[in-house]
């Protein structure tokens, strides 16, 4: 090869240059910071040190805490992903942003406990696994009824309306369900029937460098169940005829109607599936504290997860969940104290916002088509 051919080709495409800058930048920053701290130019009381160096020093010196934080972030992420999954299903299938998903979680969990209490308390069936399973079926039945009712009463008359109208209809739905739920179940918090459902409750300590970490069996179970759920739903919606129809409906109600896709049937399927996801979510979150209407606000956490992963992507829900979960735990734990703590409330949104600036449709979202 001659010199001429070498110079004739542009050395690097702009994209490659950008990529290199992305990698080189942080590396350079780390090197500079290390040099500065080593030389004593910035000391432990400087702001730059506190923000840019100290957290990493802590991570390094207390690896057990780092691992524990990552684990907690992972678990939180999985649980966020579960809620987000409920949103994704409905959005994917109808373009509706279902604001009522949060209350559906509460509703599902409360029906489960309600059935169980009736079975055990009034009907005298021995407490335990059998009763829990019957209650589970009852709760699923309620979610199916809910799906049918929602389709009949809310969605069917609102076919082909703009997104924001549908969004508000689901807000109305969430009001209704909140009122109805509190009337039916009372406002008292309830204890989740964790052990009757056969979920593990203990915890184990695992030795890691620098100490030990504590892992709740429940969290492990939650992670496993969530993964199974997400993978199977992903396959169902990606690979089947129904899956394609769902995406069509989300694109345009009108066109979907015109090719003979039954919106009614699709919506019932999807809302029921979202109901199942809500039930699972309710069980998992409920088992971590208690089931009360306060749980509804957790659903807001699914929003940044959702935009990060992309509204329409099932894998996006899980990846987004993990990024948000781990990101916010790390942020709160290592940087939160610098700002007086409690930054978890908005950190997730800021993380999502930053990602969005680079990918406006989220990591896995469908491209926003701009054509004229």
């Amino acid at each position: 090869m001659t010199d001429a051919t070498l110079t004739a080709k542009p050395a690097l495409s702009p994209q490659q240059i950008r990529r290199i800058a992305w990698i080189a930048g942080p590396v350079l920053l780390v090197v500079v910071l290390t040099l500065l701290t080593r030389s004593g130019a910035i000391g432990p009381s400087d702001w730059t040190y506190k923000i840019l160096v100290d957290p990493f020093v802590t991570m390094w010196s207390l690896p057990d805490l780092l691992i524990q934080t990552l684990w907690e972030g992972f678990v939180a992420g999985v649980l966020y992903a579960l809620i987000a999954l409920g949103f994704v299903l409905i959005f994917k299938a109808s373009g509706v942003f279902n604001f009522a998903q949060g209350i559906m979680v509460v509703f599902a969990a409360l029906s489960l406990i309600g059935f169980y209490e009736i079975l055990v308390g009034r009907l005298g069936i021995p407490a335990g696994y059998a009763a829990a399973m019957v209650a589970l079926i009852g709760a699923l039945g309620i979610m199916l009824l809910l799906a049918i009712a929602v389709e009949r009463i809310v969605l069917r008359p609102l076919v082909n309306q703009p997104d924001i109208i549908m969004l508000m209809a689901t807000v109305g739905l969430s009001f209704f369900l909140t009122g109805f739920g509190e009337l039916a179940f009372g406002g008292n918090p309830k204890v989740m029937i964790t052990s009757a459902l056969g979920l593990p409750t203990g915890s184990s300590s695992i030795d890691v460098p620098g100490g030990r970490i504590n892992v709740q069996h429940l969290d492990v179970a939650a992670a496993i169940i969530a993964t199974i759920l997400i993978v199977s739903l992903g396959i169902f919606f990606q690979k089947t005829r129904i899956g394609r129809a769902l995406r069509a409906v989300a694109d345009s109600h009108k066109a979907a109607l015109s090719v003979g896709i039954s919106l009614n049937q699709i919506w019932i399927i999807v809302w029921f599936t979202a109901g199942i996801v809500a039930l699972v979510t309710g069980i998992m979150w409920g088992a971590r504290s208690e089931v009360s209407f306060a749980l509804e606000v957790i659903a807001l956490k699914a929003l940044p997860v959702l935009v990060l992963g992309g509204f329409t992507s099932i894998p996006g829900a899980i990846v987004g969940g993990l990024i948000i979960g781990i990101g916010e735990k790390l942020g709160e734990f290592y940087w939160g104290p610098l700002m007086g703590g409690g930054i978890e409330t908005w950190l997730a949104y800021i993380i999502a916002l930053v990602f969005l600036l680079f990918r406006p449709q989220g990591l896995f979202g469908e491209k926003i088509i701009e054509r004229i």
Binding site: R247, A248, S252, S258, G260
Partner: protein, 281 residues
């Protein structure tokens, strides 16, 4: 123009009508009256054209038939629509598709985020005759529209206007209907393709016996391929007749075909006597 009297085509008797629309009235938004008593029939295996100016109500008529009006806050307030002898107003659009009546909507309406091929496959949503048959039909569509085959893996939102139009027509064909309601099939298509589309219509019509109701602006084309035509104006049928008879009609000739006194007019020399020119006068 002739008086709005409606003459039922003589040859047809009730049983071989695939579609009969009797005196329907359509209202949008509870206040806007658009169709004021429209009646028309399509014989089994026929190709019927609806012609008329912009806003005459062609699209509305087709939507009323396919029951897509609800989605636009419109409703049929009077009259009845019979498909294969049965009232269909109470059916949902997908039931109608299952029964074999499908509409190709004006303005394409492809699923932008689905690829061309996926779009075509959604057309087969109501079919139950197995993957192989669907594959075959897909290939058939691709032979009709080779351009679609080239772009089969592109998201339809990114394809050109004409490609989307082909996709929409192909998608409807995928459902193997008995009757297709075509709304402005030629819009935005290159002349060659327009010709081709009407050839396809005739082909399917004669080989598979599919009936067509075509709303079309390209009067020339439409009357060449249709057997019967209706002309609409402001929500009423103002004229109907055999395609051939319509082609011969002087009014139609002047206003829709652009041949006055036997000559084709040039667009450069449009008469504008009735038109004031106030452009910065």
């Amino acid at each position: 123009m002739s008086a709005p009297t409606h003459v039922t085509p003589v040859a047809e008797t009730a049983q071989d009508l695939i579609l009969a629309v009797n005196n329907i009235e359509v209202i949008y938004d509870h206040v806007i009256l658009v169709l004021k008593g429209v009646s028309l029939v399509v014989p089994r295996g026929g190709i019927v054209a609806i012609l008329g100016a912009n806003g005459a109500g062609k699209t509305t008529t087709l939507k009323a038939i396919s029951n897509l009006l609800h989605a636009e806050r419109g409703e049929v307030t009077k009259g009845s629509i019979l498909f294969e002898g049965e009232e269909v107003q109470a059916l949902s659009p997908n039931d109608l598709v299952r029964r074999g009546c499908i509409q190709v909507m004006e303005g394409r309406h492809c699923f932008g985020h689905l690829t061309i091929e996926e779009n075509l496959l959604t057309g087969a949503f109501t079919r139950r005759d197995g993957k192989a048959a669907i594959r075959d039909d897909l290939e058939k569509i691709y032979t009709y529209f080779p351009r679609l085959k080239e772009r089969r893996n592109s998201m339809s939102g990114y394809t050109s206007g004409g490609e989307q139009q082909m996709c929409a027509i192909g998608r409807a064909l995928m459902s193997r209907p008995k009757m297709i309601l075509l709304d402005e099939p030629s819009m935005g298509l290159a002349p060659q393709i327009v010709e081709q589309i009407f050839e396809i219509v005739r082909d399917i019509n004669s080989r598979e016996g599919v009936s067509f109701l075509v709303a079309e602006q390209n009067t020339n084309m439409a009357l060449r391929y249709a057997t019967f035509g209706y002309i609409m104006e402001t929500g009423r049928i103002v004229m109907d007749g055999d395609a051939k008879a319509l082609r011969e009609n002087e009014d139609v000739k002047e206003f829709y075909l652009g041949v006055a006194e036997g000559d084709k007019k040039s667009f450069r020399n449009v008469k504008s006597y009735k038109r004031r020119k106030r452009w910065l006068a």
